[in-house]
């Protein structure tokens, strides 16, 4: 874990960072002395969500539901909550953010924790040999998010046979919201939680607001081409097809699946960033924007969500009050 502090507006801003859930965790709080407790609060949330919603843990609640597809399964209420968030995202996006795309992700090759995929891909040949060289025809049940059945009273779930749930599009943002709110609730200070580039805030911000650099890859660091903005509240998320990519039979794959084709999105946008009332909404909008392709502009405008869309060629579109990038940033953004 790394930890730094800075004074902002009379209070001390502390930043903690570590790795969890296969991605980076960054926590900022406006009271330095609460750092240790803030970390504990976040770790508790992350641990709970991992046990409930991980697709890569055999002992998770989600894995149990996926294994028991077609049958009623009693699950932890936390998974029920995560499922409701995922289904709401699906409804709000008209099905563009669909939690029933787990099998499509597996077919695309995202069948294990991302770190393991990256490790295998770093050894040329291994990953390719694992897949059939000839074209493969696989029949799968096409079932949408409407087929997920939830019993709130008895905390039970059923998904149709052949369906695999994947909550990757919403769970991370949701737990960021939960963690930020938990810090603010328990410690009383302003808090920002960033999970793999999905940013949630709660409580009063530091003077000047929370400073966020928006770029293609959250691991690239603040010097990567992009734009730096400040937010005072809510959430900000970025989705990109330029990261978390792998090769399958010589074809570039990534983790954002188009429910219509059940294949990785091949659209106009490389990266979408959206600010919203919370991180979950922001992340839903970014994923849906990538899936919606050129129709995303009208959709985001209609919702009034500030957004920054970057085309594959590098052209940047700012919508809904997103600040215009300085010229030098715009140039830098085009170099990617």
């Amino acid at each position: 874990m790394s930890s730094t502090t800075a004074t902002t507006g009379g209070s001390e801003l502390a930043t903690l960072s570590w790795e969890a859930l296969g991605t980076s965790v960054v926590v900022q709080i406006t009271e330095r002395e609460s750092s240790a407790r803030a970390r504990k609060v976040v770790e508790r949330e992350l641990d709970a969500i991992d046990r409930a919603c991980s697709r890569f843990r055999a002992d998770s609640e989600l894995s149990r539901v996926n294994r028991c597809a077609g049958r009623i399964v009693e699950v932890d209420p936390l998974l029920i909550g995560a499922l409701r968030v995922a289904l709401r995202a699906a409804e709000c996006s008209n099905g563009d953010v669909d939690p029933t795309l787990g099998s499509a992700l597996v077919l695309a090759g995202y069948d294990r924790d991302w770190k393991q995929i990256a490790d295998v891909d770093s050894r040329p040949g291994d990953r390719q040999d694992a897949w059939p060289a000839r074209p493969e025809v696989v029949a799968r049940t096409i079932a949408g998010w409407q087929t997920v059945e939830i019993d709130l009273e008895r905390s039970r779930v059923r998904i149709p046979r052949g369906v695999q749930l994947d909550l990757g599009a919403t769970a991370k943002a949701w737990v960021a919201d939960r963690a930020a709110a938990a810090i603010h609730r328990n410690l009383g200070c302003g808090a920002l939680v960033c999970l793999g580039g999905d940013v949630a805030t709660a409580g009063l911000p530091p003077a000047g607001g929370w400073c966020i650099h928006v770029t293609d890859d959250h691991r690239a660091g603040p010097r990567a081409p992009g734009q730096t903005v400040t937010i005072m509240s809510g959430g900000l998320a970025t989705s990109s097809v330029a990261v978390r990519c792998w090769l399958r039979n010589g074809v570039n794959m990534h983790h954002i699946i188009d429910p219509a084709t059940r294949a990785p999105v091949r659209g106009r946008w490389r990266t979408a960033s959206v600010a919203a009332a919370d991180c979950t909404d922001a992340n839903t909008a970014t994923t849906a924007a990538l899936v919606r392709n050129r129709y995303a502009v009208e959709w985001l405008k209609k919702l009034g969500l500030p957004a920054r869309l970057v085309e594959h060629g590098g052209a940047i579109h700012e919508l809904g009050g997103w600040p215009a990038a300085p010229r030098e940033d715009r140039q830098a953004g085009c170099t990617r």
Binding site: I150, A237, V243, A277
Partner: protein, 173 residues
């Protein structure tokens, strides 16, 4: 004295027609009532409608399964969904001394054609002004510099180098 009616007389035919009409009316009324009843029963008994717009996709899988009740689902606080919500205030630009504006950016590969994208919305002026009274006014994060205006607060402001370490990166993951 009443004459006996012939089995094929007009009176017998009219009586039969009346009976037939009555039977028809009862049949129509009963079928309408039955349709309504069955609709109500299946509507309440069918399972797994996690949303109002649940399609028939799940019907096949439900056929042989015990019912799941979802009566509470629609009473949930944020469910069924309200649309995605905009923030109280749109993001604000950071000052020019933020890290990304430092001359370390590689930008030579940019062509003029890609530098002039369609502008979908005017910057900042179009930002929604839904800021709450509790939310502080947006300010730029900057180090005190001779040419830069001071922050509205009198409290000490963070230096750019210190803030650089606290810059959060939002990107794809």
């Amino acid at each position: 004295m009443r004459l006996p009616t012939h089995p094929y007389s007009s009176q017998a035919r009219d009586a039969a027609m009346r009976r037939l009409r009555r039977a028809n009316r009862w049949t129509v009324a009963l079928s309408a009532a039955l349709t309504g009843l069955l609709t109500a029963v299946t509507g309440n008994a069918s399972i797994g409608k996690t949303h109002k717009t649940a399609s028939g996709l799940g019907a096949a899988s439900r056929r042989n399964a015990p019912p799941i009740h979802h009566s509470m689902l629609h009473q949930a606080d944020r469910y069924p969904s309200h649309p995605l919500l905009a923030p109280q205030q749109a993001p604000q630009p950071a000052r020019s001394n933020s890290p990304e504006a430092e001359p370390s950016q590689p930008s030579s590969a940019a062509s003029e054609a890609t530098l002039s994208p369609t502008r979908e919305a005017p910057p900042e002026a179009a930002a929604p002004s839904r800021q709450s009274s509790l939310t502080p006014k947006p300010t730029h994060v900057s180090a005190p510099a001779p040419e830069a205006p001071a922050l509205p607060k009198s409290a000490p402001t963070p230096s750019a180098s210190r803030l650089k370490r606290h810059l959060i990166v939002s990107g794809g993951s």
